[in-house]
């Protein structure tokens, strides 16, 4: 069994009670707990329910003597006889040994010592490792260095050989289970200690630990009350892991005859390793008397499997990415989606596609989203992240998609190009990509993104639609150079390019975003955040795509770098003519850089307008509120209110318009009916709000006059800059 090494490398997990309660529900964990339960019961009462005494010889059923194979006759060895062990029968469920002892009774009696040693050793090792790991991690400095060295040294010395030597020199060890357990603990504690140290080290600098330090809490309480409870999952996983290691170790040294024989002096206890040893030493393998030695081996494996299964549950808790396997695929099939991680495509629910209508709604449309709905999860579990969204990206334009966390803006964009992974599923809608003619003679080609197969999608990905994500450190492969990543890309899409041409193209692209061509030889971690994002943009431009999806491309950067990069990007847009879908939570940024803006709230598109119109004369109460969340940089300071309340939980959306609980103009109708996006007077303006429907009079704040053309002129200048 492995404690997954993710426990070492990942950020520490913290415990959420709600999630803990979910652990036992996984079928794996249930199976594991059942196995552990059965063995525990046998361990406790097994010794007293044996049909025979494990040492007693059953003379009644002792049938005959046999010659041990390979002895006597012309083998060169003196003839040697054993009683023939009996196969399983009603009297002896697991047959007998060569000593005519009952194997089933031995197995029952053996469970206790085996599990006792395993659990005791694990308990000692866990206590040791908590003391060592938490002390080292919390105190840090020289103490940490010293303790870590001790742990690393004991980790490097192979456990079993050391155990063998130790057990060999301590002859009385075999008869004392506690001593055996202690010796095993000494050889197994280090791994857990190292894991706990790493976890404590990162927990120590967590804000909640610092906060309690700032409030004057003493170190013992901080360790006991703030840190230790968060280590419980890892301690539990380590305990199970160490139990298994200890059981192996005990079985192994018993098999070697180092743990004392039940019939020897001083007498050891019956355990599975001892049964295996006797069987092996008495030719049970050659004799084919599997009933004697196979059950204890299978018991070790079964107990180990039980421990491992429970550990799986804990692993999935510690590392949520491991969850949602298996079950979801089945759930997906049931719900009518074909999920395949191999292809890297967002699954589309069967029957999701509406009536095929592939005519572009405007002549210059390049990416068109119609009625798109996206769920996370299937059936009753589904969370509706995006509902019924329409969006048209026009050639050479920048379309801003604004919204808060959980509004579905990234989901919408990535689902449209089918990059979202399971458990996301497209339940409805249509996405069309109206490509430029691929060759001069062909007419313009329209690709139905939801119907396209993996091959088709692979062709248009990046060459026609490229993506820049928020964190470029994660978006670049950390173990290869920037140059190698350019190379992979060009090799896949431009197979005819020579190596030199690919290199030249890489230099050219980096130059385009203001980077030195030498940077092709750099690894991502050698570049600053701004540089990495530039490299990512250069990569996105490599095949001169028609569409760029920019998902919070500058959110992680400082303002100065943000502006430099955005201005460069807009300059490149003017030169290369791609259309951009610019996703961000920062509406003020969009007003400066986008041509048109769409605002999302709780999974729905709520307002769409040219950037300047939206900024000067918002029609949606939410947009109006959002615009008044950015304190101005000029003029008198006035108190601003922001928007009351919090963004809604997608699992528990308010009825009617999702924004109505936070809306100061909410009508009665808003509480019951969901508003749909519809045109309102003004240039290309649409809004989903009951205040603008059915002859209702919108409040003055939401009916400001459209800004003049002069403004739009100026704005486009801003973009050219």
């Amino acid at each position: 069994m492995t404690i997954d090494s993710t426990t070492l490398t990942q950020v520490p997990v913290t415990l959420e009670r709600a999630r803990v309660l979910r652990i036992p529900r996984s079928p794996k964990v249930i199976a594991g707990l059942v196995i552990l339960g059965v063995f525990s019961v046998v361990a406790i009462i097994g010794r007293w329910i044996t049909p025979y005494s494990p040492n007693a010889t059953d003379t009644q059923n002792w049938v005959q003597h046999v010659l041990v194979p390979g002895t006597g006759g012309d083998s060169g060895f003196p003839a040697s006889y054993y009683p023939l062990p009996l196969g399983p029968s009603a009297a002896h469920w697991l047959g007998t040994t060569v000593f005519a002892q009952d194997a089933w009774s031995q197995l029952l009696a053996s469970t206790q010592a085996t599990m006792f040693v395993g659990l005791l050793a694990a308990a000692i090792a866990t206590v040791l490792s908590i003391i060592f790991g938490v002390t080292a991690g919390y105190i840090g400095g020289a103490t940490d260095e010293g303790l870590s060295l001790v742990a690393n040294v004991s980790l490097a010395i192979p456990g079993l050989p050391l155990l063998i030597v130790l057990a060999d020199y301590v002859p009385s060890a075999g008869s004392s289970l506690v001593l055996v357990a202690a010796i095993i603990a000494v050889t197994t504690w280090a791994y857990t200690a190292r894991t706990l140290r790493a976890q404590t080290l990162s927990l120590r600098n967590r804000d909640f630990v610092e906060a309690s330090r700032v409030s004057g809490e003493g170190p013992l309480r901080i360790i006991g009350v703030e840190i230790l409870p968060n280590l419980i999952p890892i301690v539990a996983a380590s305990f199970l892991f160490t139990s298994l290691t200890a059981i192996y170790a005990y079985v192994a040294i018993s098999f070697l005859g180092l743990a004392g024989s039940p019939t020897g002096s001083p007498p050891g206890l019956w355990n599975w390793g001892e049964m295996l040893r006797e069987g092996f030493a008495n030719n049970a393998v050659r004799g084919g008397w599997w009933w004697w030695w196979a059950p204890p081996g299978i018991c070790v494996a079964l107990l180990g499997t039980g421990l491992a299964l429970v550990n799986f549950g804990i692993d999935e808790f510690i590392n949520p990415r491991l969850r949602t396997s298996g079950l979801t695929a089945r759930a997906a099939r049931k719900a009518g989606a074909h999920v395949s991680t191999t292809l890297g495509l967002t699954p589309v629910m069967r029957g999701a596609a509406t009536v095929p209508n592939t005519t572009p709604s405007t002549a210059d449309a390049v990416l068109e989203i119609r009625g798109l709905s996206v769920d996370y999860g299937y059936g009753d579990q589904a969370v509706h992240a995006v509902r019924d969204c329409d969006l048209v990206l026009r050639r050479g334009r920048v379309l801003g998609l604004a919204g808060e966390s959980g509004s579905g803006k990234t989901t919408l964009a990535l689902a449209a190009i089918r990059l979202l992974r399971a458990p996301a599923v497209i339940t409805e809608g249509q996405v069309l990509f109206h490509s430029k003619p691929f060759t001069r003679d062909n007419p313009k080609e329209t690709i139905d993104m939801l119907a396209a197969g993996p091959h088709r999608l692979r062709e248009i990905r990046w060459s026609e639609i490229a993506v820049v994500l928020q964190s470029s450190l994660n978006a670049l492969n950390p173990v290869t150079t920037i140059g190698a990543q350019f190379d992979d890309l060009l090799r896949a899409h431009r197979p005819r390019m020579s190596r030199d041409e690919r290199y030249t193209r890489g230099v050219e692209l980096l130059d385009m975003v203001g980077m030195n061509g030498d940077r092709l030889r750099s690894y991502p971690h050698e570049l600053s955040g701004g540089m990495r994002q530039r490299a990512m943009i250069a990569m996105a431009l490599a095949l001169e795509p028609q569409v760029m999806v920019l998902d919070e491309p500058t959110t992680a950067l400082d303002v100065v770098t943000q502006r430099e990069i955005l201005e460069e990007l807009m300059g490149l847009r003017d030169r290369l003519g791609f259309a951009a879908l610019f996703i961000t939570h920062d509406l003020s940024l969009l007003v400066e850089f986008a041509d048109d803006i769409a605002v999302m709230y709780a999974g729905r598109l709520m307002e769409r307008a040219p950037a300047n119109s939206l900024f000067r004369a918002p029609r949606l109460p939410y947009t109006h509120g959002l615009l008044h969340c950015f304190p101005p940089m000029h003029g008198k300071r006035v108190p601003m209110a922001g928007i009351p309340g919090s963004p809604p939980d997608l699992r528990d959306l308010p009825s009617g318009c999702a924004f109505h609980p936070r809306c100061k103009w909410a009508l009665d109708q808003c509480k019951h009916d969901v508003p749909v996006l519809g045109s309102i007077p003004g240039p290309n303006r649409e809004v989903a709000c009951w205040l603008h429907r059915n002859g209702a009079t919108p409040p003055a704040e939401l009916s400001l006059a459209e800004p003049g053309d002069v403004m739009r002129e100026r704005l486009s200048q801003v973009n050219i800059q």
Partner: protein, 346 residues
């Protein structure tokens, strides 16, 4: 400044040591995270620290909260140097709110635990703890308090968590609140609510607040004074409107030109280029000189003095030094001390 500052940091300097080089020749070199920074916080005032990531804002905050020990310089509470080791008496006066509300509350404890502990540590309640907890929650506008006290952090939204974090800081009735980017992890629509809460606390509870942010617009909105940091040093300090309307330091001008501002009448021209320097080997002279559009010879060699460009408005820039003196100081003839305000209008 008429009243004595509540909390003061004088000439704070902090180096972090990182490993450099390879093999046996590896050495540790200092990162000049904070270099000779002085700051004072007054009651009923919000002081904002503005700068890019790595400018040293958070380090200053942590030194003032006594989480980090400065290498040089002293922290004074009411004019008296603070004992090392963060005594409880200090915890009672100076509290801190952290950036990430998802990380600053322990996921295993209920809200009640977070608020009770400070009360118990400092023996602030006898008897009715529940009442005290309710009061705290009401002070940060989490109503009805009963509903929030028994929740776990994951049951709260980001804004609610940050309010709980503020309530925890308020539990000991501190006089100074250090808020490290308290709204940057929150959704745009709820940021103002938290900022308004801080403003309210300043007025109602006479708190001295240090507001750390990279968002100069929010600093302008909330703070009375803005201090701009660059590469571990102070570059400019002024009343907030004065600073944003009439920035005197080229770096402040650069920051302002880069900040998103939909109201802007003209397309912005970025006033400077490049990225902040490595603090392992900061540039000589003025640390901003490699990026400065107005760079002069003197900037490359000598660190600029702090000049009062107008009363209450201080900038560390050679542009505001009298040309003759600049020349003299460049030649090394005259050591420049802090200058009188009148001398230095550009």
């Amino acid at each position: 400044m008429t009243t004595a500052p509540v909390l003061e940091g004088r000439n704070l300097t902090k180096y972090f040591w990182v490993k450099q080089g390879r093999g046996l020749l590896a050495r540790k070199s200092p990162v000049h995270a904070v270099d000779n920074v002085s700051v004072s916080l007054d009651a009923r005032k919000v002081t904002a620290f503005v700068g890019e990531s790595g400018a040293g804002k958070t380090t200053v905050a942590r030194i003032l909260a006594e989480i980090t020990k400065p290498d040089k310089g002293t922290v004074l509470l009411d004019g008296k140097p603070v004992q090392a080791g963060r005594p409880r008496s200090y915890a009672k006066q100076v509290q801190m709110v952290f950036q990430d509300p998802f990380a600053s509350l322990n996921p295993v404890h209920r809200v009640r635990h977070d608020l009770e502990r400070p009360l118990k540590i400092h023996h602030l309640v006898n008897g009715n703890t529940d009442k005290a907890v309710d009061d705290l929650l009401e002070r940060v506008a989490l109503k009805p308090p009963r509903q929030f006290a028994d929740k776990f952090p994951h049951e709260l939204s980001g804004g609610q968590r940050q309010r709980v974090a503020i309530a925890r800081a308020l539990a000991v009735k501190p006089r100074v609140l250090i808020a490290d980017e308290p709204v940057s992890m929150l959704d745009v629509s709820i940021r103002l609510g938290v900022l308004n809460l801080l403003a309210d606390l300043r007025d109602r509870e006479k708190l001295a607040i240090l507001y750390i942010t990279h968002d100069i617009a929010s600093a302008r909105y909330l703070a009375d004074t803005i201090v701009v940091m660059y590469a571990g040093q102070l570059v400019e300090a002024a009343p907030s409107v004065e600073l944003t309307d009439r920035p005197a330091h080229p770096y402040t001008q650069l920051l302002l030109s880069a900040a998103p501002d939909p109201d802007r009448a003209q397309p912005p021209v970025l006033a400077g280029i490049g990225a902040p320097p490595s603090l392992l080997a900061p540039p000589t002279g003025c640390r901003f000189h490699p990026r400065c559009p107005h760079v002069m010879e003197v900037c490359r060699h000598k660190a600029p003095p702090s000049i009062a460009v107008s009363p209450d408005h201080i900038a560390a820039c050679w542009l505001h030094v009298d040309p003759a003196e600049r020349q003299a100081s460049e030649n090394g003839v005259l050591a420049t001390g802090p200058l009188e305000p009148e001398k230095s209008k550009r």
